[in-house]
Each structure stands twice: as C-alpha cells, then as structure tokens.
C-alpha cells in the first residue's frame, strides 16, 4: 500500500527503546480528537448508572398509582395526566403514575435487558464464531450456512414471529423461575440472543479467519498448545476489538428492538415501564399531556444517540490503535 493511514508516528521506525505509552496524554488527545464520542460515553455511563441505581432514586414505585384518595378525598383521576411539577418531575400519566419514577425504573427493561441479552449473545456468538472459524472444514460450512439462513430473516420479522410464539409458550409453562423473571423479559432476551448470535459469530468467525493463519498462532500450534489455549488466549485478544465495536453497535440495536417492540405493544408487558411501551401508551395524549410522550421519546433518543456516538468513537479509537 503506497499511502497508509498515518494516525500515529513511527509507521516505520520504532520508538526508541524504553519509551512507554503515555496513557494520560493519550486519553487527553483522544478526548480532544473526538469530543462527541466522549459526550456519548458520558451519556452511556449515566444511563448505565440509572439502570443500576435508578429505582433507588425513584420517588415512587413504577406501578404505584398515586391516588387522590391517598392524598385526601380527591379521586384518582384528579391526579392523572398532571403536568410536570415539583411533586412529579415529569408529570403523571393517564393512570396517575409518576412518569419520572417510571422512567427510572424502566431503565432496567430499556437498557438492562438489551445489555444482558447482548452480553449473552456476545459470549455465545463469539465462542461459536471463534470455534468454527478456527476449526474450519465441514463443521464450519454447515454451521455457517445455518447462521446465514437465520441472518437472512430480517431481525424485526424474526422477532415478531418468535415473540408471537415464545411469550405464550413461556407464560403457559407455569415455571416459577419464568414467572419471577417475567415471561416477556425472558422471551425478549431469547429473541435478541437468537437474532444476534448468528451475526456476532459471523463477525467473530471472520475476525478469527483473519488471524488464524498468523505466525503466532502457528507458533502456538508448533509448541503443542491445545485448542482452548489458542482460541481464548491467542486468538480472542485480537478478535476482541472487532467484538467490542460490534457489541456496542448491537447494544444500541437491541435497545431499538426492545423499544420498538414495546411500541408495537409486543415487547415487555405492562405494567412494566419500558420506555417504548410508555411511548405507545402516551401517544394519544400528544395534545392533552404532551409530557407523557416527550419524556420517554426524549429518553430513547438521547440514549440511542449516546450509544451511537460512543460506539463510533470506539470504532475510530480501535482503528487508530491498529
């Protein structure tokens, strides 16, 4: 290649022996080089904290209907669809629940669930991808073909088909565990995992293919290393950057999927305050009580944009590292 992407010096000559990377200044240059990514990352950190501790901050429970009768004689309806005020930061919804509290609680389903699902997918998907990429041959051929078939079903369609069967299936199973975790939570997680595992294993597989024949892998074979060592100690670290980029991208898609399904009324089931569902519930209030709609809409928008900015930043960062 004649012209390279010169992001850092020393493309040819190595730095003088003994020069260690200056972490702090690298961080600072990285921030100044891409401030948006750091705004995004900061947003993501805040959202993740909300997911973890939001319920602790919430003045009310997510399904607590604040009843007029509790406060003194008024009917419940008097406290429904109240505009934002000091008592109810984001106002109340049609049922008389505190929107602020609901959004704090809802971060779990909106962010936590996709996060868990993505992590599971990454673990399963990358192990599978690493394995078939490294082993190759017939195993790879067959598994790849199946994964390709799954990928050729658009995610939303696959999700809808699966949702329509898995939710009833799980609800009907009567298992205690499922009841506790919530059938729609489990099925959504399953759906996301089933959709993502093929995609992630494809990425992991092709990343694996690109390092499989590297000298250091062959060296490892030549000193008699086992498959597990090669997969997880030698290959995984090189595949990791690609996986991190993919995972951050996937996470934002997973959030989109969950909120979209919620918006279609097919996602996490009420009274759970998943934000997409909140949007659906608030849609008709757009003229009477616009805050009911705007807070969740805004929440989702800011959330997704933060994730996108961050994952774009990660991508650039890792590309530059190379």
């Amino acid at each position: 290649m004649a012209e390279k992407d010169y992001a850092e010096p020393a493309a040819h000559a190595a730095p003088a022996p003994g020069s260690a990377p200056k972490r702090r200044s690298r961080l600072r240059t990285a921030i100044t080089a891409n401030p948006l990514a750091f705004i995004g990352a900061a947003g993501v950190v805040i959202f993740v904290l909300l997911t973890l501790f939001g319920p602790l901050l919430a003045p009310y429970s997510y399904d607590q209907i604040i009843r007029g009768t509790d406060i003194g004689g008024e009917t419940r309806r008097a406290l429904t669809s109240r505009p934002p005020s000091a008592d109810f930061l984001f106002g109340t919804d049609q049922r008389g629940r505190d929107i602020f509290s609901r959004m704090l609680w809802g971060a779990r389903e909106t962010i936590g669930l996709p996060l868990v699902a993505t992590i599971i997918s990454v673990i399963i998907g990358s192990s599978l991808g690493l394995f078939i990429g490294y082993v190759g041959g017939l195993v790879d051929d067959i598994i790849s073909r199946i994964l390709d078939s799954l990928i050729s079903i658009p995610a939303m369609v696959l999700a809808l088909v699966m949702i329509s069967t898995i939710v009833p299936l799980l609800s009907a199973s009567g298992s205690r565990l499922i009841a506790v975790l919530g059938p729609s939570n489990i099925s959504l997680t399953t759906v996301i995992v089933l959709i993502y595992v093929p995609i992630i294993s494809r990425i992991a597989r092709s990343a694996t293919l690109s390092v499989r024949d590297r000298g250091y892998i062959e060296e490892a074979k030549l000193r008699g290393e086992g498959t597990m060592h090669i997969l997880f100690r030698q290959i995984l670290p090189s595949v990791l950057p690609a996986l991190v980029v993919e995972a951050s991208l996937r996470l934002s898609y997973a959030i989109i999927l969950v909120t979209s399904l919620g918006f279609l009324g097919l996602g996490v089931q009420p009274p759970s305050p998943e934000w997409g569902r909140m949007v659906l519930d608030a849609r008709t209030q757009i003229s009477e009580a616009p805050w009911e709609l705007w807070y969740p809409v805004l929440g989702i928008a800011v959330l997704i944009i933060s994730f996108n900015l961050m994952s774009d930043g990660i991508r650039r960062l890792l590309r530059n590292e190379e």
Partner: protein, 513 residues
Amino acid sequence: AGGSTEAEQSEPEEKILRIGLRKLTTIDPALGANDPEVMFNRLQYDYLVEILPDGTLEPSLATDWEISEDGLTYTFDLRSGVTFEDGSSFGAEDVVYTFERLVSEGSSIVGLMGQNEDGSATWTVEAVDDLTAVFRLEEPNADFLYGVASRFAMVLSSESEAVNEFGDGEDTYASFNGTGPFILEEYAVDQSARFRANENYWGGAPALDGIELVFFDDDQSQLDAFRSGALDFVIKVPDDLVPALEQVPNATVLTRATNTHPVVRVRTDEGSIGEDVRIRQAFKFATDRELINLDALDGAGTVANNDPIGPTYGELYSPQDNREHDPARARELIEAVLADGTGNGYVVEVDGEARIEIPFYVGDTFEYGLVAEFLQQQWRESNIYVELNVVPENVYYAEGDNNWLNTQLGMTAWGARPTPQEYLSVAYTEGAAFNESRWDNEELARLAREASRTAEIDARAALYDEISGIFLESGPVIIPYFRPVVAAHADRVDGIVLHSFPGRTDFTGVDLR
C-alpha cells in the same frame, strides 16, 4: 352485493356514518361474540327477536310468538315479504337453517338454549309452513327466548353455501347475504368495511346513505381518529380514555350501565386456596369495593355485592350485602385458617402473623389490570400478599396452568348477558363449562335449575335472592362493581341509542345532520 358507487361517493351530501371498531376476528355470525363482529353482522342481518337497549324483547323477523303451557313448544310467526339481498325471500326454512347451523358450528349460545354433553341440542326447530317456525324443547327453559334473540342468532339464508366468506371475482361478497338494513359494499380486511343502505329494507329504508366501519388495532388511535373528526361514532371507550373523550368538542359521550364485571375468584376444589370457606370470606372482607369503583372508574361503575346478578336485571336483582370492608375480620379469619391448617399451603406464618401468599393472575381486559393493582395494595392490610401477574388476554384465556380456568387466584372478565341465568349455567354450577372456581354447591345448583324453569318473574326473583345469599355466604368470588359501557358520537349524529351490548346498536333510525 358490491358494485361501483363512485358517483355516489363523490357527492358531498352523502350521509355516511363512520364508526370506529377494533379489528375483526371471526365474522361468522354463529361465532363472532364481540361487539365489532356483531356490529359488522348486525348491519346486514336481522334477528328473529330483537333485544332492545333496555333489555326488553321486541319482534323483528318474527312478528309474534307463542309459548305452550308446558313451556316446551315455541311457535314463531314470521314476517312476510322480507327478501334477502340476493332477492330470495325469507321463510321458515331460513330459520331452521340458522338455528341448526348454530348447533353445528358450535355457537356458544347453544349452551343457554339447551345442550347435551356431546354438544348436540336438547331442542329441535322445524318449519311448519313457510311463515311459521316451531322450536320443541325437552324441558322447560325460561331463558330460551333470550337464546333465540341472542347476538349469534342472526337469520341466514338457507340457500347460502357459505356464510360471510370471501368469494372469487364478481361474487366476492355473495355470501354476505342478509335481510338487514345495510348491504356490504366493500370490505378491506383490517382496514374498513363500507355498507350502503338497503333501500328495500322491510323496516323502511334507513335514513343514512351508508355506514363505514373503520378498524383499529388499539383504542387510542381510534380515539385519535374520533377526535380528528374522522369518525362519527366510537364504542367501548376504555376507562382511561374517558377524560380525553370528554374533552372532544362537538361530541356527546354516551354511557349505559351494564352487567359487565370483573370476577376475582379463588379455586375451591380440594387442595386449593379457597377450599376453606373462611378464606373466601377473608377475601371479601379484605376488599373495599366502593374504593375500587372510585379509584378504577372514578365512581362511574355500580358497586356490586359479590354476586353476578346486577341491577340491570331490574326485579331479578337482589341488593343484599353484608360484607363491609373489614381488614380485621379478614385477618382473624386467616389466623383461624392457619391455626386449623386448612390453608393448603397458601396460608403461611410470617413474623408471627398469618398471611395469605399467592400469585394473582389477571387477564388484561379493560381497566382490570388497574383494579388488580388496587386490590393488591388494599389486601396487604388484611395480610393478603399477592404476586401480581397481569397477562395479556390471549395468554390468560389460552391453555395453561395459570389460565383463567386453572389458576388458583385469578381475575376474569365477564361480559353483560341478556339473562342472569347464563352466568349461573356456564360458570357457577358443578360441571359447567367455565366453572373457573370449581364451585360445587348443590343448593345453588338446585335453585338455578329451578329458576331456569320458572318464567314467572316474582318467583324467579325470589329464587335469585336465595342464590344471592349463597354467593354472599360461601361464594368463591369477589365482584367489586358492574362497569358501564361508554361510547361517543359526534354531535352531527342524530338518534343513536346506546345498547348495553353496543354491537347491537340499531342504526336504522340514525341520521346525520
């Protein structure tokens, strides 16, 4: 049916009433049980006997009927000169066809009219002559007329090869062949259905030129459309949308009390939570029905007294009530059950107190999810701790361990029925198809049987009063309120009388200003 009417449509003074409905599921008249399906069919078909909005019966295709002394023979005189849309004339054969078809298609109304275990009917219908149809019963049934008048019993043409099925090409709507006031012109599945007035309707041509049904996925977008003026009439507005509805300018909100009600029921069979009557009572004492009505419906419902026969049945309603909200009593009862060890594992001791701990499954109909949340909060004071599971209707009413028929503690939606007897026969007697609570009370069964044969109104009321007493004493159900049905129409619409089953609303007298 069918045919292009482009010219008509373009005229601005066309009087088309636009109605918003949920999307239709099965539109077979014998099976379509809900308002949208019934309304869709009611526009095209007629009943032998019509039930008026206030619940009284009125002749329709049958001009008159006669019940024999022994209550076993019902003779109907039929209206002459009525023709179906395809031109064939209406006669007794069509009545025979219609009712036999109810049986063969497995319409659920057959249960009320009299049905054997195997699904066959305990009655027969025959055409005595062209304009006389006779039903013969094996045993008296005081509610038989309500069966004949039921929402499923729309009269079909005996010449139909199919009913309400799409045909090919020109004949797309050929099997939508009724005698009703409107004629189906075009039906875009899940979008809209257009009807035009039947100029030759036996009851006189409707004032409207036509009706358009517009189908929606959810009540909210339906309300949206109503608000924007795209609809003239919406029915069954859910409770949380009522405030919004009331804000709509130039619209009138209609309300009618009905016998629609949520039933919180416990299972009573062996090993179940409600096997011990004291548990059933504890639930009743734990529930503040008035507050529930206030919180859930803003007081718009009618507070019920834990039995399914509500005030809409007039004289048959028994107002007795002796179960005030009394958490202390409830706690005592639960303590007692714990002491006796008859709680079947659902009564446990926590911090030295007896409490009930149990999952609570609720079908997400109307505002019932909300009701369940209130109940959950309320009950805690009485040491009843439930783990609430509000599940979608299609899950709650599907197969499964925790469906409406199997769960230990559940809340089920029951619609309004023309006659109270129906509740007893389908839900509260041993062996009834939908006896959710597995309640087996011989006295109640006897009284119910008796009532079904008793046509005389006072005697019947007395029986129902006794039944009500049994419900109070040992009934495994809490019925907090009867909910009204809410509808709204634009002010330019004239003459709409809301039916307690809105799907049966009569549009022949409706006009647009």
